[in-house]
């Protein structure tokens, strides 16, 4: 379990690292030009921390380590938000040794609830929630139709991307971009984009695992 989850988190880290400049330049347009830099620094530290974890660690321990490391290394708003998300996902995955699509859905729901609580934001304010909430809804509906984890994640990824594109059409009312008012229109939200990247990386990772198993 630990091996697989650690590899999944590593895949997320790789996706963040290779999109570091994209995220930073999106942030430069409407924020303070550090989102990619901060996220890359955080996931690099996560990678170091995870390599010290025992192979027998359960899902909750891995995710809690990710959350704490992000909280103590990312800074800005993304650190507390993504950190809280992973901590809540850890709590939701407590005691699990395998993760069904329904477990992953519950963890995603817990993560989103944590982000909303910490950030005091709701959907439609041009934040990561605009990618995450539609992603969760798509995941849930696929899961209820009995789809596989990869299929659920694919549905989530598609809706997350729609959500990212939707952020271009709205004015930011939370986060640093909200200072811009109408000038934030037309710009894609960097937080929504990193949320999309995380889901896309998870899907890709699970797909590669599935193919290996076949």
């Amino acid at each position: 379990m630990a091996n697989c989850l650690i590899a999944a988190v590593e895949a997320i880290g790789a996706a963040i690292a290779s999109n570091k400049e994209v995220l930073t330049s999106l942030d430069a347009a409407i924020g303070d030009a550090d989102h990619g830099i901060n996220m890359a620094r955080g996931f690099q530290a996560v990678s170091g921390k995870l390599s010290t974890l025992a192979q027998t660690a359960d899902a909750a321990t891995v995710l809690k380590t990710v959350g704490m490391t992000l909280i103590t290394t990312v800074g800005g708003a993304s650190g507390p938000l993504y950190g809280t998300a992973f901590l809540r996902a850890a709590a939701a995955g407590q005691g699990k040794n395998t993760l069904s699509p329904s477990d992953v859905g519950n963890m995603l729901a817990a993560a989103i609830a944590g982000i909303k609580e910490r950030g005091k934001a709701v959907r439609g304010e041009k934040t990561m929630l605009d990618a995450l909430e539609p992603a969760y809804e798509a995941f849930k509906s696929a899961e209820q139709q009995g789809r596989s984890l990869v299929e659920c994640l694919a549905a989530a990824r598609e809706s997350a991307l729609d959500g990212v594109m939707f952020t271009k059409s709205i004015i930011a009312t939370k986060g640093r971009a909200s200072y811009l008012g109408e000038r934030s229109l037309g710009h894609q939200d960097p937080g929504a984009t990193s949320a999309y990247l995380i889901i896309a990386a998870l899907e890709e990772f699970c797909r590669s695992q599935e193919q290996r198993e076949e």
């Binding site: 930073t24 430069a28 409407i30 924020g31 303070d32 030009a33 550090d34 830099i37 901060n38 620094r41 909280i71 103590t72 290394t73 990312v74 800074g75 800005g76 708003a77 993304s78 650190g79 507390p80 938000l81 910490r118 950030g119 009312t173 939370k174 986060g175 640093r176 909200s178 200072y179 811009l180 008012g181 000038r183």
Partner: protein
Amino acid sequence: MKKIINSPEQVVEEMLQGAVLAHPGYLRRVEGFQVLVRANTPVEGKVALVSGGGSGHEPSHGGYVGKGMLDGAVAGAVFTSPTPDQVYEAIKVVDGGQGVLLVIKNYTGDIMNFEMAAELAEADGIKVDRVVVNDDVAVENSTWTTGRRGIAGTVFIHKIAGAKAETGAELAEVKRVAEKVVTNVRSMGMAISPCTVPAAGKPSFTLDETEVEIGMGIHGEPGTHRESLRPADETVEHLLNKITADLPFGSGDEVAVMVNGLGATPLMELYIANRKVAEMLAEKNITVAKTYVGNFMTSLEMAGFSITLLKLDEELKQLLLAPADTPALVQV
């Protein structure tokens, strides 16, 4: 990017080391953390003040650690709020038993990280309270946005709440005074050239040869609009009118003035700006009790400036004029 650094990854660490070496009488580094505290911390029986934020605003915030101002300053990565564990450590180290007041600038990240740190400290039984600074009038306030940004006016909170804490006042009293400053302080800035975050390697925005950004924040985040560069007096007039109309400041008021450079503005230009500020305030029959001109809350090598006005009553005036002894501000 052309900077006098060794590596982008080491800028904050090496700056903190250099600051402690420059000011050993004032500052001490909390081992293993990006935290500067008073050399003699904790001061027993005194409420402690902790501020901080991203680095790149020097001398904020470490420069204001000392008698009459801060007890601790937490340095995040450049333009990035420090993390909760760092702020938590600062709180623990400076608490002299009377509690700790956190001075936070109004940014989503800063508020979340400082809040998490306060929760950790409170769980240890340390009394923690906070004040959020939001002095930037460039950003319209409304209930559905994050609210106004905290910029140079923060230094007045450090000064006045710091002076109040030195009197032995309780945490609630220090907080009351800090909030009175927040209620009465207004700022606005502009930039004529951008800055480069070391880790980014390139400017976070660009301006044409004659273009300026009005309402610029202190992290290179855009302001209200761009326009062509105008003579200093017209620029000051635009900024100051926005500021005075906002509180509002009016005839008969007494104020403190801060003309703050954003990092690459010659003192010559700041004085030229201050000349017009003083002239306009005199015309409006507003008395200036004290003027500060210099680099107080910078934005790396950004060229530009901000103006801050603080409306004073007798209490705030006395605390403003009280002595302070810190690396970046000495008042006798």
